[in-house]
């Protein structure tokens, strides 16, 4: 995960268009969330963690629905 990449994504796409994914490398996926903790407010971090996904996927897509 390159330094500056997440800042560039936030600038280009905005926090409401980012969803968390790992591409099956858990370390880099987890690292991105850790890194975003310092860039984002708690509310915006939740958007990336799950709220954006819950908003765009159909009801029933997630167990908590």
């Amino acid at each position: 995960m390159d330094g500056g990449m997440l800042e560039a994504c936030l600038e280009a796409a905005g926090v409401e268009r980012l969803l968390w994914g790992t591409d099956l490398t858990m370390d880099t996926g987890w690292a991105k969330l850790r890194y975003l903790e310092r860039l984002l407010s708690p509310r915006d971090l939740e958007l990336v963690q799950w709220r954006n996904a819950a908003r765009i996927f159909p009801r029933g897509a997630f167990p908590a629905d």
Partner: protein, 257 residues
């Protein structure tokens, strides 16, 4: 205690990178729980005379005890013996040479002379396999990656040489380690920055096949976010002793002796 053996200071020529200043690096270290970083001067990696960055590096590290300078050594240019002597005098933890960035044959005569000199000076020599993923490199960033065969040739060329190889992946490490004698392999250390973590977990595989003694904590920051290396080791769920071995004890026992 966590030591990052693979960190940089200064601007990168091929893209905008945040946090390249000493203060920026120290903030990232605090964030990631890193107590000490071995720092190289990034801009001079691309200079015709890379050793001209060493003075700034020493001055910067002298102001901050958490930063340890890793000066550049270019064995194809005059003055490199003096730079090596200065590194030893200033108790630098290692010297670095990136032959493909310097336009040198990575196992050629200049590198073999440097290897012997580092061995005689008891100074570990650091080399990076790459700095960035090939898919993301700038079109003009054409330096080839360090070949595994060159690392094997260098470690074989001098019996006192200790090599610290950064940014190596599993295939590279296996090719060098299993192509070396046990005595040669025991003088090689690998940072974890480019090794895949869970769930495929190349790092866990390598710890089992090669042994934990050969691996040290490194990040490649600020070109890469340090959280990735921390998360990779966290996900191994190691007992305290092997965790400490990777975080700092292998570095202190193997490279700082």
């Amino acid at each position: 205690m966590r030591i990052d053996v693979n960190a940089f200071l200064g601007a990168y020529p091929y893209r905008r990178v945040p946090g390249t200043s000493p203060d920026g690096l120290l903030q990232a270290m605090a964030r990631a729980g890193i107590d000490e970083a071995w720092v190289s001067h990034l801009p001079s990696l691309f200079w015709r005379q890379p050793m001209e960055g060493n003075a700034w590096l020493y001055a910067t590290a002298a102001r901050e005890p958490r930063l340890k300078p890793v000066p550049a050594l270019h064995p194809g240019l005059s003055g490199w013996e003096g730079a090596l002597g200065e590194a030893a005098d200033r108790a630098a933890p290692a010297g670095r040479c990136d032959p493909l960035y310097y336009g040198l044959d990575p196992a050629g005569p200049e590198m073999r002379v440097l290897a012997a000199a580092c061995g005689a000076a008891h100074l570990p020599l650091m080399m990076a396999v790459r700095l960035e993923d090939g898919r993301q490199r700038h079109p003009n960033d054409r330096a080839a990656e360090l070949p595994a065969a060159a690392v094997r040739a260098l470690i074989r060329s001098d019996e006192d040489l200790r090599l610290l190889i950064t940014h190596a992946d599993r295939g590279f490490i296996e090719e060098v380690h299993f192509g070396s004698t046990p005595e040669e392999a025991a003088r090689l250390w690998w940072d974890v920055s480019w090794i895949w973590g869970a769930p495929e977990d190349h790092l866990e595989t390598l710890l089992g096949t090669i042994g934990i003694d050969r691996f040290v904590f490194g990040t490649g920051q600020p070109l890469r976010i340090p959280e990735a290396s921390v998360a990779k080791v966290d996900l191994l769920d190691l007992a305290p002793a092997p965790r400490a071995a990777i975080d700092s004890e292998n570095t202190r026992g193997g490279l700082l002796r």
